[in-house]
Amino acid sequence: MKDQLSETISAVMDSQADDLEVRRLLKALDNASEEEAAAILAQWESFHSIGSVLRNESRSNNETPTMRASSNFAASVSAAIADEAPMDKVARRPSKSDPMWQRFAVAASVTLAILVGVQEYESMQAGDASYTADNAVTVPALQSVDQSVDQSVVDLTAVQLASSEVALESSMSEAEKLEAIEAQERLNEYLLEHTNHAAKQSGQGMIPFARLANFEDE
């Protein structure tokens, strides 16, 4: 193993290496042969063990040989995770350890969202009357939107609607005219019958309708 790589291992374990050196070490591990990689990992482990002994951590941790990890422990963990990927992040719930300003910001955001929601709801309630008034306009508009799915259908329906509306308008005016004419004729009949009947019942009766009409002519 190159001295430079060993020195990098030493610096990384002391947190005295930059990110580039860490990447270089990991890349060296990836590119190394199995034997070389084992040597790099062994040195990494050994340097840590030496530090642990020097700091007297091994004794206080009771790191006795029987309670130390077996020599192939790391390899077995590495093999176990070989086909795995870390799980995605899960949404985090706010905890008591969060700073006060952060918790306040969350609470303020929620409150603001509720206020806006209530205002929107109230404006919707107030708009119900106008909604009802606009309903006649909205429905054809919606029908137009639905009909836009198929342009040919839209065109055909639009023509049909236009023609039916024109026909409805003209038929209604004709009916009114016919009704007015019928009503006029019926009224004339009633007047004629009434005049004839009155003339028969009394000598001083009303001047017959026909004579009256003739009088005007004279």
Binding site: L26, E45, S58, S70, K89
Partner: protein, 191 residues
Amino acid sequence: MSDADAQLVARVQQGDKRAFDLLVLKYQHKIHSLISRYVRDHAEVQDVAQEAFIKAFRAINNFRSESAFYTWMYRIAINTAKNHLVSRSRRPPSTDVDVDESDDYSGSNVLQDTQTPESILHGDEVAGVVKQALDSLPEDLRTAVTLREFDGLSYEDIADVMSCPVGTVRSRIFRAREAIDKQVRPTLHRL
């Protein structure tokens, strides 16, 4: 310079499994020692420790660098050990080793004491070899590694103390470790 664990965790979170191998190698003995306070059988300790590391790997994306990696790993290991005892219909101890005190925890009546005369002897032997290797180092190497390991000084502080460049400190510490490693490794392998 950022914390080495944080650097390695960041690499794992970016998909580099080799970085997790380094974390396992760094903490495997500590985690084994911790779990052995709850689980007596050595084979079971190995299984529980492996399960704990696998759980940590799966959940690594949820780790935020607000706490130290070992603190997070410690909690996973404790919970895994307790769950193991429950699954075996054994009651987990009501007291835990505090993570801040785990380095110099002296044991309790409830948690198992793993110290045996034999283990103490082995520990003494390793410590003796390391001390012997340290004493045999040249003065500059011994001072550099001592200031780092015993006093926990940064490379910059050691450079100030030793009146030399940081690069020299880095090199001296590495060479000291390498020299000690050559003498200690046979003993560690034998034990």
